[in-house]
C-alpha cells in the first residue's frame, strides 16, 4: 500500500515537473501541441495526487499502523469521522491536502479555460506547475506521509482538541482558500508573461478568487467557533499567529476583490492589482509556513523543522520571480485613466484598499515582530492583543463607515446634491440608533457606540440601495415588489451579493463589538454554593462521571436561574482521553435568545474534596458572529452564481481586445 502511495507522489512530481518545463518551452518555442501536452500533464498530476490521497484514506480507515503517519495520529478507538479527518491532522497529510487541492484547481482551470478557448491558458500552466512541483517535491523528499515502520499494536490517537466536528471542516476549507489564491496569482503572472495588459486575467479569475475568499472566510469562522467551544476560555479569537496567518491573506484578497472592479470599469490600478494578488498568494504560502515551521516559537526551533527552510526558500523564490516579472512589464501597465475626484466611487474603493492593506500589513508586522526584534536587538519581544485591537479600531472603524458610504457615491465624480439626497435615509437611521444607544447608556464605551452607529449607517445604506433599486426596476418592468426585487438581484448578482456580504460584515462587527460588554466571574464552590453573574444565578449541585467510546467524561452539574426562573441544568466538564493521555475542556454553552449572547460556563478545576472552581462568562451578541457566517455564505453564493449573460458580455469584450 505504502509503495503505491509513494509511487503516486513520485509520478505526480514527475508530471508537474514536465508541465513546468514543457509548458515553458512550448511558450518560448511557440509549440502549441507541446503546450497542450503540458496542460494534460497537470490534469494527470491531479489524478496521481488523488491516488496518493486515496491510499492514505484507505490506510487510515484500515488502521494500518505500519504507516508512521497513521500510527501517530489515530488509534483503534478513534471514531470513524475523526479517523478520516486525521488526514489533515498532521504535517505530511496537510501537505498532501495542499497538493491535492492545488492540482484539483489546476485541472479545473485547464478544463474550464479550454472550454472557453482562453488564450491565457498556456501562460498560466507554468506558474501553476511551479507550485505543484514544490509541494510534490516536499512530499516525496522531505516530509512523506507514507513512511513505514513495524506496526505497533495501537496508534497514539488524535489530539483530543482536534476531535471536534468543526475541526473536521475547518482545515479543508482553509486549504481551499489558501490554495485557491494560487489561481488568480497564476493568471496574473500568466498575463504578465504573455504581455497582456488588459483585464482578461481578472475576468478569468474573478470567480476563482471569490471561491477561495469565501472558503477562507467561512473556514476562519469555523475555526473561531471551534476555539470557542473546544479550547474553552470563553473567547473565539486571540490574535494568535496561526489565526493571523489565515486572516492576512483574506484581507489582501478582500482588497483585491474590490480593486479589480476599478480596473474593470476604469482601467486603473493595474500594477496595484498585481501587487495585491502577489501579496495574497505570498501570504497564503507564508500562512502555511507559519503554522508548519514552528518559526514563531523561536528562531532556533525553526532551523530544526524539516520543512521550514524549504518553505522560506520557496516564498523568496515566488516573490522574487513575481515582483521581477511585474517590474519588467511596468511600461505595459500604464493606466488609461486617472482619478477624477476624491469624492467618487473609485476613490472610496481606493480608501478601502489602503485601509485593508494597512490592517493586513500591521498584523504582519505584529506577527514577525518577535523575529525582527530578535534579529535587530538581540532580544525577542512580542506584541499581543492591545496592539492588534488598536489597529483593528484605527483601520476597521473607517472601513466600516466606508462600507456604508461607497454604495451611495457615484462613479467618476459625485455631485454634492445627489449625495445629500441619498445620504438622508442612512444618516437618519444612524442618528436615531445613536440617540437610542446613548439613552441606554452605551456611551460608556465610545468605540462601541461609534461601531454601532456606523453599523446602523451601513445597514441603512444597504437597505436604501435595495429599496431604490427595486423601485427603479418596478417602474421599468412593472409587476409586484417581490418580482422587481428578485429581478434586481438576479441581474446584478455581483453587486447585490456584495451588499449581502457587507451586511454580514456588519453583523460580525456588532458581534465582535459586543465583547466590550462581557462579564466574567470565577469562584471556588462547594456543593450547594452559588455564583452570580450578570443576572444569572448558578448553583453547583455536584459532579458526575461517565465513559464514552474513547474518553472518561467528568461533568459538574450546575443549576441555572435568572430572575427567579429555573432555566435548567448545564454541565461543564472535562474529558480525559486515556490513549492520547490528554485532557480536553468541555465548556457548557447556553444561548440566550434575548441578548443574542451566551452563558458560558467552564469547569476550571475539580478538587478531591468535591468542590469545584467554576468560571462563568456572559457574552452578549456573540451569536451574531455565527449568524454573520451564514449571511456571508449566502451573499458570496449570490455573487458567485453563474450569470451567463454577464459572462458572454465580458468574453466578447476581451475577445476583441488586442493581445
Amino acid at each position: 500500500m505504502a509503495e503505491l502511495g509513494r509511487a503516486a507522489l513520485v509520478v505526480c512530481l514527475g508530471l508537474s515537473l514536465y508541465a513546468l518545463v514543457a509548458g515553458s518551452w512550448a511558450l518560448v518555442a511557440r509549440r502549441r501541441r507541446l503546450a497542450v501536452s503540458a496542460q494534460n500533464a497537470l490534469v494527470a498530476a491531479f489524478a496521481s495526487a488523488l491516488v496518493g490521497s486515496i491510499v492514505l484514506v484507505v490506510a487510515l480507515v484500515r488502521h494500518d499502523f505500519s504507516l508512521v503517519y497513521v500510527a501517530r495520529l489515530t488509534s483503534k478507538e478513534l471514531p470513524f469521522g475523526y479517523t478520516l479527518s486525521a488526514f489533515w491532522g498532521g504535517q505530511e497529510g496537510s501537505l498532501l491536502l495542499w497538493l491535492l487541492v492545488l492540482t484539483g484547481y489546476a485541472a479545473l482551470v485547464v478544463a474550464t479555460s479550454r472550454r472557453r478557448r482562453s488564450e491565457l491558458l498556456p501562460w498560466v500552466v507554468p506558474p501553476l506547475a511551479l507550485v505543484a512541483v514544490f509541494f510534490a517535491f516536499m512530499l516525496v523528499a522531505i516530509s512523506s506521509p507514507f513512511e513505514t515502520q513495524l506496526a505497533p499494536a495501537n496508534g497514539a490517537g488524535l489530539n483530543p482538541s482536534l476531535q471536534n466536528p468543526y475541526m473536521v471542516a475547518h482545515p479543508p476549507l482553509l486549504y481551499l482558500g489558501y490554495v485557491g489564491l494560487t489561481v488568480p496569482w497564476a493568471f496574473g503572472m500568466g498575463a504578465l508573461l504573455a504581455r497582456r495588459a488588459d483585464e482578461a486575467w481578472i475576468v478569468a479569475t474573478r470567480r476563482w478568487t471569490l471561491v477561495a475568499w469565501t472558503a477562507l472566510g467561512v473556514g476562519q469562522l469555523l475555526g473561531a467557533k471551534w476555539a470557542y467551544e473546544e479550547i474553552g476560555w470563553g473567547g473565539y479569537f486571540a490574535w494568535d499567529p496561526v489565526e493571523n496567518a489565515a486572516l492576512m491573506p483574506w484581507l489582501a484578497a478582500t482588497a483585491f476583490l474590490h480593486s479589480v472592479m476599478i480596473q474593470e470599469k476604469r482601467g486603473m490600478l493595474k500594477v496595484w492589482n498585481l501587487l495585491l494578488v502577489i501579496l495574497a498568494f505570498g501570504l497564503s504560502l507564508f500562512g502555511t509556513f507559519l503554522t508548519r515551521s514552528g518559526i514563531l516559537d523561536s528562531i532556533h526551533s525553526f532551523t530544526e523543522s524539516s520543512i521550514g527552510p524549504w518553505f522560506l526558500g520557496f516564498i523568496v523564490l515566488v516573490l522574487t520571480l513575481s515582483l521581477g516579472l511585474l517590474f519588467a512589464r511596468l511600461p505595459l501597465l500604464r493606466s488609461r485613466t486617472r482619478l477624477e475626484s476624491l469624492v467618487s466611487r473609485e476613490a472610496t474603493f481606493l480608501y478601502n484598499n489602503l485601509l485593508l492593506v494597512a490592517l493586513c500589513l500591521t498584523i504582519l508586522w505584529g506577527v514577525v515582530w518577535p523575529l525582527l526584534s530578535e534579529a535587530v536587538r538581540g532580544e525577542a519581544s512580542v506584541v499581543a492583543g492591545p496592539y492588534y485591537n488598536f489597529f483593528l479600531r484605527v483601520f476597521g472603524l473607517p472601513l466600516l463607515l466606508l462600507m456604508g458610504l461607497a454604495p451611495l457615491v457615484a462613479w467618476r465624480r459625485a455631485s454634492l446634491r445627489s449625495l445629500g439626497a441619498s445620504f438622508a435615509w442612512p444618516a437618519g437611521t444612524a442618528a436615531a440608533v445613536a440617540v437610542v444607544l446613548l439613552a441606554l447608556g452605551a456611551g460608556s464605551s465610545p468605540v462601541g457606540l461609534l461601531a454601532y452607529t456606523f453599523s446602523a449607517f451601513v445597514l441603512g445604506s444597504i437597505g436604501y440601495e435595495f429599496v431604490r433599486g427595486t423601485r427603479a426596476r418596478r417602474s421599468l418592468e412593472g409587476g409586484t415588489r417581490l418580482q422587481a426585487f428578485s429581478s434586481l438581484v438576479g441581474r446584478n448578482r455581483r453587486r447585490y451579493g456584495g451588499y449581502v456580504v457587507h451586511a454580514a460584515i456588519v453583523l460580525l462587527a456588532i458581534g465582535v463589538a459586543g465583547s466590550a460588554y462581557d462579564t466574567v466571574r470565577e469562584a471556588r464552590l462547594d456543593r450547594g454554593e452559588r455564583l452570580e453573574v450578570a443576572g444569572y444565578t448558578l448553583t453547583y449541585l455536584g459532579t458526575t462521571e461517565r465513559m464514552s467510546a474513547n474518553a472518561r467524561e467528568l461533568r459538574a452539574r450546575v443549576a441555572v436561574e435568572r430572575d427567579g426562573r429555573d432555566l435548567g441544568i448545564v454541565e461543564p466538564g472535562k474529558n480525559f482521553y486515556p490513549v492520547e493521555q490528554q485532557v480536553s475542556a468541555e465548556p457548557a454553552i447556553r444561548a440566550d435568545a434575548m441578548s443574542l449572547g451566551d452563558l458560558f460556563v467552564i469547569l476550571e478545576n475539580s478538587n478531591p474534596d468535591g468542590s469545584v472552581r467554576l468560571k462563568a462568562l456572559v457574552n452578549p451578541l456573540v451569536n451574531l458572529i455565527w449568524l454573520a457566517g451564514l449571511v456571508f455564505l449566502a451573499g458570496s453564493l449570490i455573487a458567485l452564481w453563474p450569470d451567463p449573460a454577464e459572462e458572454r458580455r465580458l468574453l466578447e469584450r476581451y475577445a476583441l481586445a488586442p493581445a
Binding site: 483530543p160 476560555w233 516559537d297 523561536s298 512580542v382 490528554q582
Partner: protein, 121 residues
C-alpha cells in the same frame, strides 16, 4: 494622493509604536536572571516537576534547548494541553527567584503542531 494616504497610515503606526513601546520582552529561563519587569516566559515544563496544591500549580520551566530552569507558580486554570514535557508561554515576573505567572495568560502551542519529535532518519 496615494502618497499622502500611505503617509497618514504610517504616521498612525509610528505614533502607536512610540507611545506603546515595542511589545513585551520574550525570554527563556536562562535569560530571566536579574529582570524585574513583566515578561513573556517560554520554555518546556520539566518532567516530574509538576505539583498541585489547591488551585496553585508549581512546576519548573526549562529552556527549550538548554538546561537552565526556573521555578514557576501559576494560580489560574491550566490549559488542556498543559503537561510535563510540553512547550508553553506565560506572562509574569520574577519575584524572589520564583516566576509568578499571571492567571489566564498561559498558552501552549497550537494543537495542530503537536506531532511527536520526528526520528532523524
Amino acid at each position: 494622493m496615494l502618497a499622502l494616504s500611505v503617509a497618514a497610515v504610517l504616521a498612525v503606526f509610528l505614533v502607536y509604536v512610540s507611545f506603546a513601546g515595542g511589545g513585551t520582552p520574550a525570554v527563556e529561563p536562562s535569560e530571566l536572571k536579574g529582570r524585574a519587569e513583566v515578561v513573556v516566559l517560554s520554555g518546556q515544563v520539566v518532567v516530574g516537576s509538576v505539583q498541585t496544591s489547591g488551585e496553585v500549580t508549581r512546576f519548573r520551566l526549562r529552556d527549550v534547548k538548554g538546561t537552565a530552569t526556573v521555578p514557576v507558580t501559576y494560580a489560574g486554570g491550566l490549559p488542556d494541553q498543559f503537561k510535563a514535557g510540553r512547550d508553553l508561554r506565560v506572562n509574569g515576573q520574577l519575584r524572589q527567584g520564583v516566576f509568578v505567572g499571571e492567571p489566564g495568560t498561559m498558552v501552549t502551542k497550537c494543537p495542530s503542531k503537536y506531532a511527536p519529535k520526528q526520528r532523524s532518519s
